[in-house]
Structure formats: C-alpha cells, structure tokens
C-alpha cells in the first residue's frame, strides 16, 4: 500500500520525443503534475495520448527528454528502476489487458498476490470489495471471455486500484459504459483518490465527463500539448483548435 505523504511532483515529463518506425508520436512534449493531482488528457484520436500514458509507466522509452515518476528518473529504462516504480503505479489499459488464463478474481487479486505481502483471506476480502465497488459483486469465478467490454473495463479498474498505488493511470476508463455507469466509475475513482491521496491521470474521449471529473486538463494533438490548465478554462482557450475540439464544432482547424 502506498500513501502519498508529501508534495513532491508526481509526474515530470520534460521535452520528450518518441518515434515508432521513423514516425514521431510525441514531439518535445512537456508536462508535470503534483502528487494528489487529477489530470485529464484529451485530444483527437491517434494524437499520442495512450503512448503518453505508456511512457509514464515505462512501457515506452523516450528517444529524447526526461521522465520522472514519483521522484525517480525512468528515462533510461533500467529494468530494476522500472520494476520499483511500477509497484507504486496502477494502470487501466485501453483494451483492458485482463489475463485471459485467469479468472476475474485472480485478475483482480494479482497486484496484491505478486507483492506477497498480504494474507490470502485479506486478498479475497479486498477482491470482493473491489468487485462490489465496480458493480460486479460475485463475479470472481467468471473468466474474462464471459464478460462484456464494459464489464472487462470495470474489472480492469478493480485490478488497477486494489493495491492502492500512489499513481493511477486510466486509459479510456469509461469507454463502452453507459452514462450512469460512467458517472459511477468517475465517482469511484474520485472516492478512491480522496481515500488514498493518490495522483490520477485519465485519458478519455468523453470530453464532458472528463471535464467534470478532472481538476486540470491537457489537450494533446499530434504529439504536443496544445492546452494545459484548469478544466473550467479550456473552453475559453485562445487556441482555436482547442476550442473546436471541446465544443465539437465541424468548422475549425481540426
């Protein structure tokens, strides 16, 4: 269990560039977030949002620039450093990334079980509580293949949060969920954050829900940050591209 106890910067990304097969996905991107912050990342599709999240957990290495997570430099991609940092990070993947050879219960229990610091009874209790919190009480014995996309997403949220990590990264946490469940999921994420003081970064295409949830927003377009500031001010941005994306108008630079 990791509780945030000071005011260090949780995330610091400085002039980071990432390219795949010669195509630049992130371009000199800089971003920072204080511990305990709640940042929403939005932007047009294929703009580099998911790559940015993977960069924050060391699944993508920067070609240039520096990435500090919870005070540790992970830019060099050293395996031992990455493993240490990842113990304090929870991540929900866009495609759930549930282990299909494990049951739902085993999936959710996995972050606790691999640490080996929690008794089996307590793990079982916490798995039940997490599944109940995401509206899937009693689903422990099911296999991921038996679940719908929305249910898999909720299992992914339960797995990401069960070890109460200091930094939580959500990639499209509400994709495939109905509006009521979307509200409930954001309420759950906010309640968890209030409970543990963790830092939350969420990527979503659901602009309205993300604006309501986040205290701060960043709009990423073509690998660069086009807006970084309070959620309530994004619709008044001087950048026409940012205003168009938020309003959803046809006319504009996008």
């Amino acid at each position: 269990m990791s509780q945030v106890t000071d005011t260090r910067t949780a995330i610091s990304v400085q002039d980071v560039s990432v390219a795949f097969d010669g195509t630049e996905v992130l371009r000199s991107l800089s971003l920072s977030l204080e511990q305990g912050g709640r940042l929403g990342i939005l932007g047009p599709a294929a703009g580099g949002k998911s790559v940015l999240l993977k960069l924050l957990v060391g699944l993508v290495a920067p070609d240039a620039g520096r990435v500090h997570i919870l005070g540790t430099d992970i830019s060099r991609g050293k395996e031992k450093t990455l493993m240490r940092v990842r113990r304090d990070v929870g991540m929900l993947f866009q495609n759930y990334a549930l282990f299909d050879f494990m049951t739902v219960g085993e999936n959710v229990a996995f972050p606790l079980a691999r640490l080996g610091e929690t008794e089996d009874d307590e793990i079982a209790d916490r798995v039940s509580a997490r599944l109940k919190a995401v509206g899937l009480a009693g689903s422990e014995a099911k296999m991921p293949s038996e679940l719908s996309g929305g249910m898999k997403k909720r299992v992914g949220i339960a797995r990401a949060t069960i070890a109460r990590p200091a930094l939580l990264l959500y990639d499209e946490p509400t994709a495939g969920l109905d509006p009521v469940t979307t509200s409930k999921m954001y309420e759950l994420i906010a309640a968890d954050q209030a409970d543990t003081g963790c830092t939350v970064v969420a990527v979503s295409s659901d602009v309205g829900a993300l604006m309501n949830f986040s205290t701060e927003l960043a709009l990423v377009h073509e690998g660069s940050v086009r807006y970084r500031g309070p959620s309530h001010a994004i619709s008044k941005s001087e950048d026409a591209l940012v205003r168009q994306f938020v309003s959803g108008d046809d006319a504009g630079p996008l």
Binding site: R84, R86, R87, M91, A97, F99
Partner: protein, 258 residues
C-alpha cells in the same frame, strides 16, 4: 535488372533470417539469465507440463504406433528378398531411436504445441496482456516464457521416450501380422544390437528439439506486431522456423553425437 531484384530479395531474406536468429538468441540468453538462480512459477510450470505433455500423448502414441509399422513394412520387401529376418528388430530400433522417433515426434509436437504456444503468446501480446504484466512489475520472461521453455523441453523428451517404445511395439505388431515374423526374433534382434548409446542419442536430440521449438514459438509469440493478421503470420513463421531448426539441428547432432 532481374539480377538486381534477385540479389535484393536474397539480401532482404538474409537480413530477415539473421534478425530473427538474433532475436531468438537474445531471448535464449534472457531465459538462461532468469534460470540463474531458478525463479520458477510452480503452478504455471505444471499447468504447461499438463497441457503440453499429457494432452499430446494420445496423438503422439497413435502416430508412433503407425510409424513403427511403416518402418517394418518398408523393410519387409528387402527382408524377404535377402532372408534377413534377424535384422528387422535392429533396423527398426536403430532408425526409431536415433532418427525417426525424435524427428517425427518433434515435428508433430511443433505443429500441435509450438503453434498453439505462439498463437497464445501472440494474442496476449496484441491484447496488451504482456504490457499488463510489465505494468504490474512482472517480467514476462520468467513468468510466462521460462515455464513454457522448461515444459516443452521436458514434455518432448518424455514423449519421444514413450513414443519410441510405442513405435517399437507398433513395428512388432505389424511385423508379426504382415511379415509373419516371430516376436522373439524381433526382440532378440533389437536387444542384441541396440545399446544405451542409441537411446541417449535420441534423447539428446529430443531435448534439443524441444528447446528449439520452445524458443522459436515463444520468440515469434512475444515479438508479434499487428492484430489478428500479425498473430497468423507469427504462427506461420514459428512453425517454419521450428521445422528448419529441427532439421538443421538434427544434421549437426547426427554429425557430432556418437
């Protein structure tokens, strides 16, 4: 112009082959590093031993039984012409232990277990399950690859030993019913001429083939790119690479081993 195209194709093919060979070698190094000291996931190892070894036994046994029969039928024509019934047991045993058993069972194992392993790992890769493990501070090499490499090596060794015995029984069965040979003739021909070295020769080959199938199938599984199309290509590449590895290693081992 045609010459340029041909040279270019050969160059691309060579670079591709060396790149894949390099990747498999690096993976082999990672597997060895993970085994020093051994950090095995017991349940994952036994799960793989069961589904790769135990569940392959019926098809391997069936194949081996008829392979033994084929050996005897092919030898039967010469045996009758030369009146050399005393050589049937030796001939079948020598070929089965040293060559036909390990190679045919390895190719069968590659088709059934290796391709399945590649498909499974490749699907896990394209659905971000391997990234999911890494994000949870679990290295997929010791957790997923090492148990599979051990399970496939041990399974193929055991299957070849069992398969060879079944092939011998198959050979004896067909020899008695198709060539009218006595079981005792076959038995003494075998035990008088086949030594433990013949058995060890085949066993070493089986273990090496098992490792090769495991490494190629795991490598193409975890290095896959793209979605469903990528998974299909990875399985295809793994089966081809395993077959080439088996034949090449068989040649080298036959030349080196006593």
């Amino acid at each position: 112009m045609l010459g340029d195209v041909t040279i270019s194709a050969i160059g691309r093919g060579t670079l591709f082959a060396w790149r894949e060979l390099g990747g498999i070698t690096i993976l082999a190094g990672q597997v060895l590093r993970a085994l020093l000291p051994p950090r095995l996931d017991g349940p994952e190892l036994f799960r793989n031993l069961y589904r790769m070894g135990n569940r392959s036994l019926p098809i391997i046994a069936l194949t081996a039984f008829f392979v033994g029969g084929i050996m005897v039928i092919q030898a039967g024509v010469l045996v009758k012409q030369l009146n050399a019934a005393g050589l049937v047991g030796w001939g079948a045993g020598y070929a089965i232990f040293r060559e036909v058993g390990p190679m045919l069972i390895a190719l069968m194992f590659s088709g059934r277990v290796g391709s399945n392993n590649t498909a499974e790992l490749a699907t896990m890769t394209v659905t971000e399950q391997l990234d999911g493990l890494r994000a949870l501070a679990i290295d997929p090499i010791p957790y997923l690859v090492v148990p599979r490499v051990i399970a496939m090596t041990v399974s193929l060794l055991c299957l070849v030993v069992l398969g060879n015995l079944i092939a011998l029984y198959g050979g004896a069965f067909f020899a008695m019913f198709l060539l009218d040979l006595e079981f005792s003739t076959l038995y003494y021909s075998l035990v008088d001429n086949i030594g433990w070295l013949d058995f060890v020769h085949g066993a070493i080959k089986a273990a090496v083939f098992g490792s090769a199938i495991a490494m190629t199938s795991c490598y193409f599984g975890i290095s896959v790119r793209g979605g469903a199309v990528g998974v299909g290509k990875a399985v295809n590449a793994a089966v081809v690479a395993a077959a080439i590895s088996i034949v090449t290693l068989d040649f080298l081992l036959t030349a080196v081993l006593p």
